[in-house]
């Protein structure tokens, strides 16, 4: 609370300051000058930074001046106002302006598709025009906006072709699922490698209550581990997609690479920036369940249809009154604040960028949220005559108030599950103020979960690296890069007597800690030379070593004399109820890398890379894997036979192999670990049993990727297009080969089979309107990816993707997309007894679903399951816009997917209620089968367990297509009349998730209760929030 007060205070002072500024500048009235002197400055229209060396030409005279270091210029002339000035600067659009006042500020805008633009690539930078690989490069102006954009992934969502980012959980800091060019693996990881300022990080998930610690739901959706990076520190993000771009990262590159570059200071430009964004979040889309009156009606109807009496008589109905809207009870309007302060500057010998960030986001489910405090220091400097060094350090502390929903049911489920299923005729409180508890349901009163369970994590993470670079000879540079990523987390869960499970154990406390340590040592050499005859050579070679360690500890204890001390005095618990766990693991990568880039006459570009990666995770004889790539580019626009119409035209082609080692440790070894527990009397004895069958032959999973692409720009660079076609073939897949359970093991991790992802990506951007006052720039991206399992070897069929009480819903089988939905197809609802007698379900009754008898054997059993859908969209798209008029601008992004299905657990809970007093979705009840509604879509709901078939069926499978206005932001740049103290002030109003167009029944078609898995189920999903926010950026 104290902290929130501080926030409020700082926000208020920001507002007061803002009005003060407006007031001050509002009073200055323009005074036309008749004579002599004109002063002014030229700034970059996007960054608002001053531009040095800009040529200012006064019309009708030959005299011209250049701006100084601070962007200022001055004329002394005999002419009178107004003046007409022509302004020109390399890399910027030239401009002619009429000036009426002095001093004046002139904004110049960069030429789009700047030919000298440099982008970050693996272990270096390259001119964009020399890049032969497929790279999506996003600068700060391209990032998504809004107060609730709290992670790197959220900056990118919908903005880059080939990059599909889905928010698995919308809780503050919630997990995301990032897939670059499809889902490339089955049992090894499918998430990209993140490299932050040259430091590849371990982005594996942090602590989750994945096994229901503390008696709460199993939550498989870990918080996004990259939350520890402050998005406001980021200058650019490069997404490396094809093998030419990624293969330099070898064994971790098969799922693509995201390079994050943070901001740096510029010599001589001292800047102080302060930004604040304050918003309010509310439920974007309510799940439509029965209200109290409808519930009473339906429960009564169903009871009668089942042959019983109505449950509620008129007396009972009168006593119930309006009942309780449980969704509203657990949800709230929630605040979000974001503050950023940065200072940068320095000299040629030492420049700096430092920043502080405070983000506080409450969740729309009560008692959830995230607070982040982050700081950064980036230093760049020179030593000796030809040496350079850099230091990047960022440290952060995140306090997560975790949601307690997850992949669990009944008394173990969280408030979202409970709110959707709880009896709306119950009131929240008893007359004595305690929470009610239904005697018909083994579900907690939803609000008792909100108040009865604490689940808080605190995470500290420090990422730091330091590099030294020395130019040994002309064009030959050596570089040492040392880095580390230190992470520690502690999670405290306390389940009090307010809940069923807490009451059963007189309070349950659980404390878990996780420590991760990652050390990087890297040495690279780079040689760059231009030879005669237009030949340029750029060669890179190096060695890297990276070691990862992880340690865990956890302890649980129950039976406390009081709930008041929560996890702060475990000594008070009953030692007989205690359990402890711990673990430690380590893995190492040792790699050799090289790249050659050759250009001829600025027309022909060749790139070759090779990385040899050794990983401790593989079998003794298979430690090393070799990952080569080759690529060629042809700059057609530099050929005379290409019309001048093309400002840029480049053809690219690449082929390469990348790997995947994201499988966990020790899989090649046979070891022993905790086994069965023997109960004798009241004593428990824990035994040991084998962990797995070790696979000594385990080796790299590899992905070969071919890519052809074209980059083109025309109409004076106003329109640019990038198109790519790729085919990725993953082979020797790391698959848990199912073993006969007779062996005592479920599976053995093996290199089996292959999978193919192919697709096209389009990126089109244009300056549609380019008037001096009115500008509209727009970009559109489009991605289509097709996934097929091409070979599964001995594994034949793998059933996977199970959620609580649903069972497996996904299958991996040859010729089909991996993680396709597998289940029963419902082809109608039985209407009469004749129809039933002649069907494959002779023991059915009218109102039961008709399952398709696939094998036509006259009965419905497991052989009648089939592929009923898959989670992959036909295509995904994003459409980003900036419309500027004068000092106003409007940014917005539409984003979405077409096609792809999600198995909806909410529908299953409604179709197969465990108890007839549970609430249901309106959709499944409104159009349920009754004698009077024979053409119903949904079954009768009278005897759901007798339907036969299975829960994985087409009734629960829903189209997840959607179109979302991801954000919209209106900006206003205050017209400043002086550059003395304040450089710029921008105020803005923004909205996120303003609307979503979708037929999906649920909180969010992006949700996935299985977290990072490629199989998808929506169950007990944290609801999506709509966010309204207002903010201010001030720079000095």
């Amino acid at each position: 609370m104290k902290y929130i007060r501080v926030l409020r205070y700082s926000f208020l002072s920001a507002i007061v300051f803002f009005f003060f500024i407006v007031e001050t500048y509002g009073q200055v009235s323009p005074t036309p000058i008749i004579n002599a002197t004109l002063t002014g400055s030229v700034i970059d229209g996007v960054s608002k930074d001053p531009l040095e060396g800009v040529t200012i030409q006064l019309d009708a005279v030959t005299h011209s001046v250049k701006t100084d270091r601070d962007g200022r210029f001055q004329f002394v002339t005999g002419q009178k106002l107004p003046f007409t000035l022509s302004i020109s600067y390399i890399g910027y659009e030239s401009k002619t302006v009429v000036v009426n006042t002095s001093p004046t500020i002139i904004e110049l805008f960069p030429v789009s598709a700047d030919i000298d633009e440099v982008i970050v690539v693996g272990y270096g930078v390259q001119k964009k025009r020399d890049v032969t690989g497929s790279v999506s490069s996003l600068k700060e102006a391209d990032f998504n906006r809004g107060a609730a954009v709290t992670s790197v992934d959220q900056l990118l969502q919908g903005g880059a072709a080939g990059v599909n980012i889905q928010q698995s959980s919308s809780e503050p800091g919630g997990g995301v699922n990032v897939r670059i060019r499809g889902n490339n693996s089955i049992n090894a990881g499918s998430s990209p490698l993140y490299v932050i300022d040259g430091l590849p990080i371990d982005n594996s998930t942090n602590l989750t209550s994945s096994s229901g610690e503390g008696g709460i739901a199993n939550n498989l959706v870990a918080k996004n581990p990259i939350n520890s990076i402050n998005p406001s520190d980021i200058a650019s993000i490069e997404v490396l997609k094809d093998a030419s771009a990624t293969a330099i990262y070898g064994s971790r590159a098969a799922n693509g690479v995201i390079l994050i570059t943070t901001k740096r200071g510029t010599a001589g430009q001292k800047r102080l920036n302060y930004g604040v964004n304050v918003g309010v979040q509310s439920l974007a889309n309510r799940i439509d369940i029965l209200n109290t009156a409808e519930y009473i009606d339906v429960v009564n109807q169903l009871s009668v249809e089942r042959g019983g009496d109505p449950v509620f008589d008129s007396e009972a109905i009168a006593a119930i009154g309006s009942g309780t809207d449980w969704q509203s009870a657990i949800l709230q309007k929630a605040a979000v604040h974001d503050h950023n302060l940065s200072l940068s500057g320095g000299s040629e010998s030492l420049s700096y960028f430092t920043s502080l960030n405070v983000t506080s986001q409450d969740g729309i489910v009560r008692n959830t949220g995230m607070d982040r405090y982050a700081g950064r220091v980036n230093l760049d400097g020179t030593f000796a005559a030809k040496g350079k060094f850099g230091i990047n350090i960022t440290t952060s502390r995140i306090i997560d108030n975790n949601a307690v929903d997850g992949n669990s049911i009944n008394e173990s489920a969280g408030p979202i599950n409970a709110a959707l299923l709880y009896d709306p005729t119950e009131s929240i409180y008893n007359p004595d103020g305690s929470f009610t508890r239904s005697s018909f349901l083994t579900i907690n009163n939803p609000l008792s979960l909100v108040h009865g369970i604490q689940n808080e994590s605190s995470s500290n993470r420090t990422l730091g690296n330091v590099f030294f670079e020395y130019e040994i000879a002309n064009g030959l540079k050596a570089k040492v890069n040392l880095g580390t990523d230190l992470f520690s987390q502690r999670r405290d869960i306390f389940n009090s007597r307010l809940t069923i499970r807490g009451a059963a154990q007189n309070g349950i406390a659980n404390i878990a800690t996780l420590e991760k340590q990652d050390i990087l040592g890297e040495y690279t050499m780079n040689y760059n030379k231009e030879f005669s005859g237009g030949n340029t050579l750029d060669v890179l070679g190096g060695i890297t070593y990276q070691n990862f360690q992880i340690k865990r500890f956890g302890g649980s204890i129950g039976n406390f004399p009081s709930d008041n001390l929560a996890t702060n005095n475990l000594n008070l618990g009953d030692i007989a109820t205690a359990s402890l766990s711990s673990g430690k693991a380590e893995n190492t990568l040792l790699s050799y890398l090289g790249r050659v880039n050759y250009t001829h006459n600025d027309k022909y570009i060749l790139t070759g890379t090779l990385r040899a990666d050794g990983s401790s995770r593989f079998g003794m004889d298979n430690k090393f894997g070799y990952f080569p790539s080759v690529a060629a580019g042809w700059l057609l626009s530099n050929e005379s036979f290409i019309p001048q119409f093309f400002n840029n035209l480049k053809l690219r082609g690449s082929y390469g192999v990348t790997g995947n080692q994201d499988i966990g440790n020790y899989n090649s070894l046979q070891t022993f670990t905790t086994g069965g527990t023997f109960v004798s009397g009241n004593t428990l004895v824990v035994g040991t049993s084998p962990s797995r069958i070790g696979n000594r032959d385990l080796k790299w999973e590899s992905t070969a990727q071919s890519n052809i692409g074209v980059d083109a720009s025309f109409f004076q660079n106003r329109i640019s297009l990038t198109a790519d076609y790729f085919v990725k073939s993953t082979k020797d897949m790391l698959i848990e080969l199912p073993l006969p359970a007779g062996t005592g093991y479920r599976s053995i991790l093996s290199n089996i089979g292959s999978m193919r992802n192919s697709g096209i990506e389009l990126y089109l951007s244009g300056d549609i309107i380019q008037k001096s006052k009115f500008r509209w720039t727009s970009s559109l991206n489009f991605t289509h990816i097709k996934n097929r399992v091409t070979d599964l070897g001995d594994a034949r069929r793998i059933h996977t993707g199970s959620a609580a009480n649903i069972g497996n819903v996904a299958i991996i089988t040859e010729g089909e997309p991996a993680f396709s939905y597998y289940g029963y197809k419902v082809i109608g609802i039985f209407n009469d007894l004749d129809q039933i007698a002649n069907s494959a379900q002779p023991s059915s009754r009218p109102g039961y679903p008709i399952f398709e008898d696939v094998d036509n054997d006259g009965r419905i059993n497991s052989d009648d399951q089939q592929i009923i859908g898959d989670p992959y969209p036909d295509f995904t798209y994003g459409w980003r816009n900036e419309v500027a008029y004068g000092d106003f601008s409007l940014n917005f992004l539409f984003q979405g997917q077409y096609g792809g299905e999600v198995l909806n657990g909410n529908i299953l809970e409604s179709l197969y209620p465990s108890n007839y007093r549970r609430n249901m979705l309106r959709i499944t009840v409104e159009d349920r089968w009754t004698v009077d509604n024979p053409d119903a879509k949904w079954p009768s709901a009278t005897e759901p367990t007798s339907y036969g078939g299975g829960k994985s069926n087409t009734l629960a499978l829903q189209d997840a297509s959607y179109l979302r206005l991801k954000y919209i932001q209106l900006n206003y740049n205050l017209p400043l009349r002086s550059t003395k103290s304040v450089r710029g002030i921008q105020v803005f109003l923004s909205a996120q998730n303003l609307f979503t167009i979708s037929n999906y029944v649920g909180y969010d078609p992006e949700a996935n209760a299985l977290g990072g898995s490629s199989a998808r189920i929506d169950l007990n999903t944290y609801p999506l929030a709509r966010v309204w926010s207002a903010g201010l950026n001030v720079s000095f």
Partner: protein, 462 residues
């Protein structure tokens, strides 16, 4: 320049010289292969096998009752699994089949590692206990699935075929026989394998395979051990305070810390209970005709709950509505949520006596000994004893099966008894379960197992 060269040199040396050791995988929280050869390792593997052989999950417990018509169920997420069992519409994807299969074969896995590494001279009792556990695991698997793929060593091929019925039974018999020769009559730790337990499983194996003479011999041997006796009061036999009494030969032990959810899945949520006791929506009932089949003064009926007053003070009549609750297992006052500490008997001395009576009747028809055996069990519940003169071989057989239903209800016995008697399917048909066909006497091999093992045949009819 010099500095760079040195660094380059240092890194090169570092990289080339120590490359293999750098990529060595060090174990920190798992034990390596040598562990299985150590005495502590072998004991600990055995402990794990004991633990996994304690089938505390409902997969096993309810299956006999639901399929044999002893019980039926309403409500709860579990209803989706019980309904196909009650209606004979189960298929090879039913999760209970893969659950039991996986669990018991994990016992066999641990036993096989023990048998490979143990020293026959010094570890004789360890080996005997291990063989006992493997024997009873295959015994249950055989009871559910019929002939089996036999995994006998950790080095066996992954993809075993099913052997014949005779080979399956012979293997179980051999494991149990070898165990009986070494195992002690008493063990210091309650719940460890004893000679009596091994003999009792052997007796049940012979009984269910109708090897009457061998059954009679073994049951005789058990009686001669003079280790077991009937508990005097049937109504208190199952109480937590009487766990470990001399009638219990083999039980699935539970304690609230690691308990079973049987009570939680049996009673209604409005049944009077303590705050620490969780009850699920699922309810498990006994049919009226079974409750009414007891003699009115049969003490064994007293454990059946035929009415109750709910937490709202409303009286609820159960008998007459086919909804009597099996109350054999009490509400554990120390329960932790849905985890209750009631031990569940698997083999009681009463079963040995009645099994012997059945075997003797099959061999010789009714005689004084078989009637006496039955009366020993009967007399603690009913004053009216059976008279030798009232029975032919056939009517005594019928009487024995009736006695078994009254004696062993809610103890996972009825399905095996009906299968042996040949009435499992006909009884189902009589209850109106028209889907029940001859092949249902065995459960299908789990589909996951069929998918994973190309050498495995499914049972006929599935």
């Amino acid at each position: 320049m010099k500095i760079s060269k040195y660094i380059l040199l240092a890194l090169l040396i570092f990289a080339t010289s120590s490359c293999n050791s750098l990529l060595q995988e060090d174990l920190y929280s798992e034990l390596d292969d040598n562990y299985a050869n150590s005495p502590q390792g072998l004991q600990s593997l055995l402990t794990s096998a004991y633990g996994n052989a304690q089938l505390r999950n409902y997969e096993y417990f309810f299956t006999s009752g639901m399929t044999s018509g002893e019980n039926w169920n309403e409500y709860g997420a579990i209803e989706a699994n019980f309904t196909p069992l009650c209606n004979f519409t189960w298929d090879s994807n039913h999760p209970y089949f893969s659950g039991i299969w996986t669990r018991l074969y994990s016992v066999i896995r641990d036993v096989n590692i023990i048998l490979k590494n143990a020293d026959p001279d010094n570890d004789a009792q360890l080996i005997a206990e291990a063989k006992f556990l493997r024997g009873i695991s295959y015994y249950w698997l055989h009871d559910w699935f019929g002939r089996l793929p036999l995994y006998k060593s950790p080095d066996d091929d992954y993809y075993q075929s099913r052997v014949t019925e005779e080979q399956t039974v012979a293997f179980i018999e051999q494991d149990l026989r070898e165990a009986t020769e070494i195992l002690p009559v008493k063990q210091s730790v309650y719940g460890k394998a004893t000679k009596g337990a091994a003999l009792s499983f052997l007796a049940k194996l012979y009984l269910n395979t109708k090897r009457w003479q061998e059954c009679a011999d073994i049951t005789g041997e058990i009686i001669e051990l003079q280790e077991y006796s009937l508990f005097s009061d049937y109504t208190k036999l199952f109480l937590i305070e009487n766990e470990g009494n001399a009638e219990l030969i083999w039980t699935i032990q539970s304690t609230p810390q690691l308990g079973n959810p049987f009570v939680a899945n049996t009673f209604p949520t409005d049944y009077p209970h303590l705050p620490n006791q969780t009850i699920y929506a699922s309810q498990v009932y006994l049919f009226d005709d079974f409750v009414n089949s007891f003699a009115a003064n049969d003490k064994r009926r007293e454990l059946i709950i035929t009415s109750y007053t709910n937490t709202n003070g409303v009286f609820v009549q159960l008998l007459g509505n086919n909804r009597s609750y099996p109350g054999k297992y009490e509400f554990d006052k120390d329960a932790i949520g849905a985890s209750y500490g009631n031990d569940v008997p698997v083999l009681r001395y009463a079963d040995v006596l009645i099994s012997r009576a059945e075997a003797l009747n099959e061999l010789n028809g009714p005689n004084a000994e078989s009637i006496d055996l039955l009366n020993q069990v009967r007399q603690r519940a009913l004053p009216e004893l059976l008279q030798l003169g009232d029975f032919s071989k056939e009517t005594l057989r019928e009487q024995i099966f009736k006695e078994r239903t009254w004696e062993f209800w809610y103890e996972q016995a009825r399905r095996s008894d009906q299968v042996r008697q040949g009435t499992f399917i006909s009884e189902a048909n009589r209850r109106g379960k028209t889907a029940a066909k001859a092949h249902h006497v065995l459960f299908p091999i789990p589909q996951t197992e069929i998918d994973a093992n190309p050498n495995l045949e499914q049972n006929d009819g599935y």
